[in-house]
Symmetry: C2
Amino acid sequence: MPHYNLAFIGFGNVGQALVRLLDRKRDALKSSYHITYSVTGIATGRHGCAVNVRGLNTEDAIRLLQNGQSIASLSSNAVNDPMSVIEGSNADVMFENSPVNKDTGRPAIDHIRAALKRNMHAITANKGPVVHGYRELTELAKSKHRVFGFESTVLGGAPLFSVFREAFPLAEFHSFHGILNSTTNVILSRMERGESFEDAVRYCQESGVAETDPSNDVDGWDAAIKVAALVTVLMKIPFTPQQVNPTGIRGITPGMIASAKSEGKRYKLVCSAERNGETVKASVRPELLDASSPLFHIMDSDSGVTVHTDVLPGYSITETDETKMFGSADETAYGLFADFVRAGNPLR
Amino acid sequence: MPHYNLAFIGFGNVGQALVRLLDRKRDALKSSYHITYSVTGIATGRHGCAVNVRGLNTEDAIRLLQNGQSIASLSSNAVNDPMSVIEGSNADVMFENSPVNKDTGRPAIDHIRAALKRNMHAITANKGPVVHGYRELTELAKSKHRVFGFESTVLGGAPLFSVFREAFPLAEFHSFHGILNSTTNVILSRMERGESFEDAVRYCQESGVAETDPSNDVDGWDAAIKVAALVTVLMKIPFTPQQVNPTGIRGITPGMIASAKSEGKRYKLVCSAERNGETVKASVRPELLDASSPLFHIMDSDSGVTVHTDVLPGYSITETDETKMFGSADETAYGLFADFVRAGNPLR
């Protein structure tokens, strides 16, 4: 029965949600996949690092963090940064959840490279390494017979990359369009219901949908990174967010939204890409949609994408939350979890 | 490089579309999966059977069928029925596409059992064997290290079963709801646009969406079989169409549709199932939906399903055809093709 040592680089809401999910699925992992695990390394952004190859108590770690204290007291050896956690954790799997860097993908890309070189599986919810290091990291993972997993980078943790990799053999991806950024979709949905842009942004910040600085979302960069990741992976053509050159939603006024609504239409921040031979035209920009578009009906924090291939007409995946009972960190955690199961079970 | 002999039991629109798709993807199968193939057996419903272990010319077979002639002239040995084609084809993969029998699943179930016992992979678009033979055939396939594939039985050939099998590790399926029968959805969509029930049925028959006798669709049995298949496979609880006890759309009058439309609502033949411990409540019945339901927007021959799990809130897969350039046989053929690639590439 294989035992997996796990290292967490970045241990915010997503990392903590993953620990809870792993704990909840501990028996099922063992009985269905013969997988057992320990957490042997944690690197936080502002509350220290800890390693213990015999296993860290994650409940203690979460409690310390909730009290704003450092987790260094849990460590068997002094470790000060992510790289020393990767080195000192003796991990089999590294979960990379540090903040996104749209321009270079670093330092996440360095963490993933280091982990793969040490024969760890590397699993991330961070889009930067997919956009800036996809080819290098995929080839490195392959040469090491390890998984470079990034299911959670687009559509939260809802299966997307694995669907197109496993369930669409020999399909050619011609084009896709989707709503991929939750913050802007929440803002536009709330503005349609009469809220001001500023109040909608504040709602997103307070509810945790948006970062403290929402400009990455509002100006279309988060969506552009996701478009670049989808083009790079599905269409196998390297693509950067800069090439997407997004237009955000700042130009959409309450008057425009009201006028659209009166005609049964609405603005959406639409993500699109279309392949033509070896070139791709991609965009992120506000578009005025009517009810005949499937994207018209994706409201609030829901998201979705429709792909067009040579083998099927339109195939759409939509992530919704009618119950409002799931946090986005829980959803993201499931994508990381699914990548972990795949890593631990490559021959199923 | 493995070479696959293929037998087709049932060789109507779907079987012929699969042959065309295989031909189109021949080079890609070889370069990406090292798969080559020959068609060594064909059993038709009314135009004879043929086997040749050195390969049948499928273009000749299709031409004969288009002329209403028997394919027996192509055979190297006299074969008269599906079982003798299975026996005489020396096939590695059998594609079962005989007509659906909702009450017993036979004779498809017999063909699949016979093929698996002869160490063939068995791949079908026929829902009957899934509903009536899932456990037996799955276990038989497992014991033979062969694939029992049925991706094409629900949502045409769009990936569904493979998504939930491969991309949702350790998820618990709590409930689903969907639009799973195209004929009734086309009829209701056309009635909403003012067509009579009879004219809409005739349209479905003439365009090939419905069978000559559309009652299987109209009375909800096709949808009930699909619900039973999804419950059986996803929730791992054996379930029959009879337990679903469907209500069809004959009770929906033009007046009801017009009145619903005036309130911004519409009737849909909704398929639902909800698990509660080891019991399942499932239904197929017309429901009055408003625009807040994702199913409200699935029109004409589109279909889709939303599943609720313990790990993600709502995850929807929708199959659409904005281009209207795909025949339903082409889509079904892709599901069979995908199952074939999986069968030929179990360790990817």
